[in-house]
Symmetry: C2
DNA sequence: AAACAGTTCATACTAAAGTACCAAACCACT
DNA sequence: AGTGGTTTGGTACTTTAGTATGAACTGTTT
């Protein structure tokens, strides 16, 4: 948030400076007034593009970012979360076990705990719930 | 695509008109040159915002839209697709059967066919593949 | 009318998934 | 040194999921 304010401040200062510089350039005859207008137009065009991209990006990130707080709220451990990611990749318990170098039994324990923490009956339902919570 | 060209053409024409009008306004003394520059800046700022939003929106839509062609290419039938949606909602075969008013056996048949068409070993893998193909 | 694709359903089976319960080992903290 | 949370893993069991096969019933096309 502080970063945004600083960027905005610098932007406004830069633009004011540009205005003043262009005014002096026109008065002193170094530049044609049409050229100045063209530069102003181009600069503001890109300022518009830039600010729009920034704001849209934030929205996008906000809706796609992983909600780490929610993971903690649900009391999901590191290992359980890794298992959840394995499920979302479409892996079987056995395959997840091989990936994490533990036995299938261990994965079953994690999955069972995950399901109760996510209040799900099946792994597919767990995926749907996890997506709703933005934790995967 | 034609629409885009027309919009762009009109936009450029409008901007050129604005340029000429502002020039005459300054010469005839109706408007201060600083006001003209401010107007140009604001207009181009919003042109930048508008064009950026347009292009980003298209990208977003393109990546989120369901690829109906891909569904046909994979030879997935209407009913099979409904079952796929049921799976993505985290339902069991039995629950999907109740939702579509058919027996669990029927759902099993559909699921089995779906898996072979999607080249998946499990329903969770089918979900992952279907997402990659943008068909759910 | 015959062929065809899609849907429906059943049986019988194997393979995964999931539950319940227990137990040991580990790490961090006090 | 003991407590608590996490991770690990086993056994035994029930429930879903998935496969294979066969069969009947729909529309649609030729």
């Amino acid at each position: 948030m502080r970063k945004t304010i600083i960027v905005f401040g610098l932007l406004i200062l830069g633009l004011l400076l540009l205005f003043q510089l262009s005014k002096y350039a026109v008065i002193s005859g170094d530049l044609d007034s049409e050229v100045v207008i063209a530069i102003i137009a181009i600069v503001f065009f890109f300022v518009g593009v830039y600010l729009n991209k920034k704001s849209l990006h934030k929205q996008k990130v906000a809706s796609e970012d992983i909600n780490h707080k929610k993971i903690k709220d649900l009391d999901i451990s590191k290992r359980e979360y890794e298992v959840l990611l394995g499920i979302s990749e479409g892996l079987s318990n056995k395959e997840i076990g091989e990936k994490l170098f533990v036995s299938e039994s261990t994965i079953k324990t994690h999955v069972s705990n995950l399901l109760s923490k996510l209040n799900a009956k099946r792994r597919t339902q767990a995926l749907q719930i996890a997506k709703d919570f933005n934790i995967i």
